[in-house]
Structures are given as C-alpha cells and as structure tokens.
C-alpha cells in the first residue's frame, strides 16, 4: 500500500523563473517523500515583468488569477491565503514576505495549529537605516517561524539578531538553475565562448534609485576617457528612472556607447551574458542580486558594491570579481579598465567564477530546505 506523501507549500507573491527552478529541483529530488505545492497571489509580479516558465514536477496555484497585484484588498487576500493554507493539509510551509500583514497573520495562525512554518528571508541589517522599535516588533512577528532559509553572512546574522542563536537556519535561499542559464545561452561559459576583445560591459537591473545607475554612468564615462577603444555598456532593465538615465547618457555624450535594452526575459539575459566581459552592479541597497548568479553561471566576473547580499556567498575581490563602494565611480572605472585591458586577468577571474557557484545552484536550495524539514 503506497504511503501518503507529505506536503510542503511555498508562498511567493509571484513565481518568476528562479522560483520555478528551485521548486522543480526540489520536486525532482524528493519526489518519493514530498509533494511540492507552489502558491502565488497573482500571475503577474508587482516588481518584475518576467514571464515564468510552466511549473514542472510541482503544482502551482494562483490565488487571484485574474486580479491585478495592487487591486486585492487586505481582507480578501488574507481570507484566501489562510483558507488555502488550512485546506491544503500541508505538513510544512515556507513563506516569503514575512512583513506582509497577510503573512504575519497566516504564519501566526498556522503556528498556533502546530504547523511548521519556515521563513524565506534575505534581508540584512544594512539594507536600510533601522530603528530599534521596529526591530523589536519584527522579532515578535518572526516568532511563529520554526526556522529560516536564508543566505550566508549578513542575512544569517540579521536573523540571529532577531531570533537568537538557537533558531534553525539553512542556506540556499537565492539559487537558480545554473544548467538552465547555460543551456539558454547557447555558448560556453567564459573564458570560453566569445573572445575577450568582442565582449561588452553589462548591467542587468531595474532602473530605480537604489540601483545607483547614475554612479554607474559616471564610472563608465571615466572608463571611456581612460581607454583608447571603449567597450559598449548594455543596461538591461526597465523602471521609473529611464527618462532620467537617457538624459544623463546624452549629457555625458555616451549615446553611441551605452545601450538601454529594456526589460529582457531570461533567454535574452543568458545571450547577453554570453557576450559580456563583466557584470556591473553598484547598488546602494541590494538584498542579494540574483543576476550575480546568472553572470557567474556564464563565467562572467562581477564588479559589485559591498551592499549586495550575494557578496558573502559568491564574490571574492581579486578572485572572481571586484567589490567597490557605491559612492566610488573612480574605483569602478579602475576595475572596468583592468578587465578591459588585461586578458589574462579576465580569464583568471572568469575561471574563478566556478569556485563558489555551487552555493547558488538549485541543489543548494534542495539541501537547505531538506535540512530544515
């Protein structure tokens, strides 16, 4: 007689490609023990224009299939989320968005009914200017969680600050399918594939203030002055600052070298990275920076700000990229020039990308989830 599979539910606001990667990998790895259910509030993200692939090996439920993300009232959202979770008869739940009122109430009720609820949390203390009163409140709303899936370094320290040293913690929150990226790119990761001389700089980011793109353009302008034949800079993403950035590009006379490519779906991102010399991400605030995983999957060194949460997991300055301060356009330009001029250095950094990449591949997510379960 077949034994009943245990059920685990994962909640994200909306499933993008990386969420599908994670649950597909998990479902494949534990098919004989666990039934994996993904639940999203809407079919469209409030933040990203991504198109997610179909769920493979797991079921994906959309609670408000026809609603726009901003149109769902609190009571409706709470009722449907809570009733779904209670009716699901799941053995465990993994919730993102710990600070959403619906998640706060749902996690508390589930915990009171003896369900195991785990947090998917990637915040860091240094993301914002924090205030002790709000942090005390936050430590209370995190009480229902039996453990957390997070990332190494600052995110782990932040959870331990809020919940103490004894709370179970596992790594692998920010992961995606490295194999999928490589397959979509249709080219070998660097230093294979496109030759050094033909590669350009790439930024893949939303065009919003915290991504610090004005400093990126200032750095690029310095780089352009420093080298004889500057490589183009491709900025991939959409957002509220697009007009402002276009104006700055024109003011710096960079129109022939900086290309705004708009929001790209995952296959186009993979193609873009296959042609990239380095990924540049000088964010002022960056909880992780998933694009760093995608770049390293394609052997592309990264020049990132120390604000990026991916730093501890993936990046070591002088090994597989460089770390700069977000107010340091001169330093950013300096490292761009280094990678532009020194092919041996670039090859060495490209090879260095493989060193920590397994920490951000989907098997790490599977390991982390199973450690908590």
């Amino acid at each position: 007689m077949p034994t009943r599979l245990r059920k685990v539910v994962f909640l994200w606001e909306n499933f993008g490609p990386m969420h599908v990667d994670r649950l597909s990998a998990l479902a494949r790895a534990v098919a004989d023990q666990w039934e994996i259910v993904g639940v999203q509030w809407t079919g469209k993200s409030t933040t990203y224009d991504w198109v997610a692939p179909d769920a493979k090996n797991f079921s994906l439920v959309t609670l408000f299939p026809d609603a726009a993300p901003a149109s769902i009232g609190f009571r409706r959202k709470l009722w449907r989320t809570l009733s779904f979770c209670l009716k699901s008869k799941a053995d465990a739940f993994f919730f993102s968005h710990y600070n959403d009122p619906v998640v706060i109430i749902t996690s508390a009720i589930l915990a009171l009914t003896n369900k195991r609820v785990f947090g998917l949390l990637l915040s860091k203390f240094d993301d914002y200017d924090r205030k002790i009163r709000w942090e005390v409140f936050k430590s209370l709303i995190l009480l229902p969680y039996a453990g957390f899936l997070t990332n190494r370094g600052r995110s782990e320290e932040y959870i331990r600050f809020l919940r103490g040293n004894k709370v179970p913690i596992a790594y692998g929150h920010n992961t995606l399918s490295v194999g999928e990226i490589r397959s979509l790119a249709g080219a070998a990761p660097a230093p294979g594939g496109a030759p050094h001389a033909e590669r350009h700089f790439t930024a893949i980011t939303r065009l919003v203030p915290k991504k610090n793109l004005a400093v990126l353009l200032d750095a690029y302008a310095l780089y352009r002055q420093a080298v004889a034949a500057p490589r183009p800079l491709h900025i991939c993403g959409s957002g509220e600052l697009e007009a402002e950035l276009r104006a700055k590009i024109a003011a710096l006379n960079l129109g022939d070298l900086v290309v705004l490519r708009g929001f790209l779906q995952r296959p186009e991102i993979a193609h873009e990275l296959a042609q990239s010399l380095a990924l540049v991400l000088p964010s002022i605030e960056e909880q992780f920076g998933n694009v760093i995983i995608e770049a390293q999957a394609m052997g592309v060194p990264t020049i990132i700000s120390h604000n990026c949460g991916a730093l501890e997991t993936l990046v070591r300055s002088g090994v597989n990229g460089f770390v700069v301060e977000p107010d340091n356009p001169a330093g950013l330009a300096f490292f761009m020039q280094w990678l532009h001029e020194d092919e041996d250095l670039w090859e060495r950094m490209a090879l260095g990308c493989a060193q920590f990449l397994p920490r951000a591949d989907t098997p790490a997510f599977v390991d982390g989830v199973m450690k908590l379960l």
């Binding site: 240094d126 300055s317 001169a330």
Partner: protein
C-alpha cells in the same frame, strides 16, 4: 570661558592629537582631558600629555575603584573643571553610565564617543533594546564610521546630533616622526616592505594575512619583506606559523613599537595590510594614509567607510579572502605605476583623517546648542 571635557581610559598619541586639535581650533574654550589610568590596559604606548590642553589622571594606577567611586570622581572632575560639554568614551562601562546620568541631571551636555558598529559581533535584539535605553543621557555623539552612525541612529540617537571623524590623527605628527616625505616620494618603490600594525589577537585575523603573504611569496622571484608591529597573546603561535611556512627570512616580528617608530616604518612601507575579522575602526589605516601608503583592508574595518575607496587609495577585501589579498599584494609589489597612482590617491583621504576634522565635529555639536 566655556569648558569642554573629554574622557578616555588612558591618553595615547591619538587622544592627544584630537584634544590638541580642538584646543587649537577653539582658542576661547578651555579644553580638559580626563583619563582614568596613567597607563592603558590594552596598549603599551607611552602616556602622552598635550601641549594645548590640560590633562588630569583620576587614579594612580595602584588603587582599585568600584563603578560608583569612579563615576563620582569623573563627575567631580567635570564639576571642578566647570565643564559644560562632556565627551565620554566607554559608554558600556557602568561607571561611565552612572557619571553620564548624573552629569545630565546636572544639566551638562553629555556626548558619546563611539566607533562600535552593528557588524562588530553577533547582536541580540533584547540586549540592543536595553542599550537603546542605556544611551538616554547622551544628547549627541561623534562616531568613527558610517556604520557607527547607522548603529547609533538605530539605537535611537537623532541623526542630526551625530557627527563623523571620531577616529582621527595628527597627520603632521605622523609625517614629522616618519622623518621622510610621504609616498610616492621618499623611500624608493623597490626598497619598500609590507607592513602590519596590529595587536596579535584573534580578531585581527593575522593567520589569513600571513597565509596570503605566503601565497604572494610563492608567486614571485624576489619577494618583499613583511614587518609585523604589535604584541599580544598569539605572538608565539604566529611565529610558529611563519616557521612552518618557511617564511622566517621574509617576516620579521617587531613587537610593540611606540608611535614614532611606527611612523618611521610607514615611511618605508609599500602597503599596509589590515585583514581583521572584527575592527571597530583601525587607526593604522589612517596613519598609513598620512604617509601616502595604500592599504589593503578587510570590509570589517570601520575606517573603510570614510577613508578607503577600492581602486583609488587601496583595496578592500573580505576577511576570508587569502587568494584576493595575495593577488593585490602581487599587483602592488610589481606595478610601480599602479602603486604610485594609489599612493597619490591617499592625499585627500589623509587630509580628511586629520584631527582638525574631529575638532570641527566638536565645534558643530557644542556650538549648535
């Protein structure tokens, strides 16, 4: 004449630098420095007395006082001096806390001198909540780094009442003691050595620095020397480690040296290495910058926030990154143009790290009342 009082456990060279700078910048104010002990419990530096301010030592070094007695003597010193503004270090000491509360009740303006950061050590929300209550006597603060400011603001002090540049030095003193011009002038590029100035204790992460140096040595035909200045509990273990790595001919342990000798060593230094896993600030970093010396520092160092920009006046690395430190050592040791460029990049940061910046911060806090 308005009196401004500063309190530290003991006055070393940098404390004197700062009090002297305040006294010079504010000649119409009376500046008083109060130290608890005639010698530091942490550093072997020679006690210093400034030229432009009055210093007083509370204890004779033999007697042991409890927190209440220390607090009482500290308050009494502030009353005797007629201090209206009091800047206190060591806020976590009960004696300092009691003194701060009493002074505040006496309507003195009490300020915090702080270079702690949230990321210095694992924190607990409940302990931090207590700390938020603990800092109520303070009406303002001077902090060592942006992270210190963020930490204090998190604890509840208004951002508008927090000033920068707590950890600053007299650039002129360093340069005078060095006896040579700052880099890239002075000692020839080829004759310079790597330097570590640090207590030999676990949080300074010196085994990683030595391992990185070993990696650098393995990749070059003519390695430069590494001179380690400082003393501490790990002295013998580090010497053993150096011996095991066959580095004894390249690494010298100089022991604790007074400020002038360190300045002289910085005068012939190629790069200062500070790879600490915990470092509230890192005074050696600003001393190196004063001598035009580029730095390789870990991102744990508070000094990084204001005074180091990677690729401009040094390189910032991660404290577990042996390979990265070795990479940057190799580059700076072999590329004179790069070294000269980074050395030239230290100038603006050295000016900012001068004790006059501290004096201006004191002025902004005390004159805004």
């Amino acid at each position: 004449m308005t009196c401004i009082m500063f309190f530290w456990e003991n006055f070393g060279p940098t404390h004197v630098d700062r009090c002297d700078a305040v006294a010079r910048a504010m000649p119409r104010k009376s500046i008083v420095g109060i130290e608890l002990n005639p010698a530091s419990t942490t550093y072997a530096w020679t006690p210093e007395t400034g030229q432009h301010f009055t210093k007083r030592t509370l204890r004779d070094g033999k007697s042991h006082w409890g927190a209440l007695r220390t607090a009482f003597e500290l308050v009494r010193a502030s009353v005797n001096a007629g201090a209206k503004h009091v800047f206190l270090c060591h806020y976590n000491e009960p004696s300092v806390q009691i003194a701060a509360m009493l002074m505040r009740l006496m309507r003195k303006r009490v300020y915090l001198l702080l270079d702690s950061k949230f990321d210095d050590r694992p924190r607990s929300i409940w302990r931090e909540a207590l700390k938020a209550a603990w800092i109520w006597p303070y009406v303002g603060a001077i902090v060592g780094s942006r992270r210190s400011r963020q930490y204090l603001s998190f604890l509840g002090l208004s951002n508008a009442r927090i000033e920068n540049y707590y950890d600053t030095i007299s650039v002129e003193r360093i340069r005078r003691a060095a006896g040579v011009p700052p880099a890239p002038d002075g000692v020839d590029f080829h004759d310079r050595h790597f330097t570590i100035v640090s207590r030999l204790v676990a949080k300074k992460n010196l085994f990683v620095a030595v391992d990185a140096f070993a990696l650098y040595v393995s990749r070059t035909n003519h390695p430069r020397r590494l001179r380690i200045f400082g003393d501490g509990g790990l002295d013998q273990e580090l010497r053993d480690h150096v011996r095991e790595l066959n580095l004894t001919e390249f690494v010298t342990f100089e022991g604790f040296q007074q400020a002038d000798a360190v300045s002289q060593a910085l005068g012939s230094t190629l790069v200062l290495i500070q790879s600490s896993s915990e470092e509230q600030f890192g005074f050696a970093i600003v001393e190196a910058l004063a001598m035009g010396v580029p730095v390789i520092v870990s991102d744990n160092c508070g000094a990084r926030d204001e005074f180091v920009r990677s690729g401009v006046n040094g390189f910032v690395i991660q404290s577990d990154n042996v390979e990265g430190i070795a990479f940057f050592l190799g580059r700076l040791a072999s590329d004179q143009l790069l070294w000269e460029r980074l050395s030239a990049g230290t100038g603006a940061f050295a000016a900012e790290a001068d004790a006059i910046s501290f004096a201006h911060s004191v002025g902004r806090l005390t004159e805004s009342v």
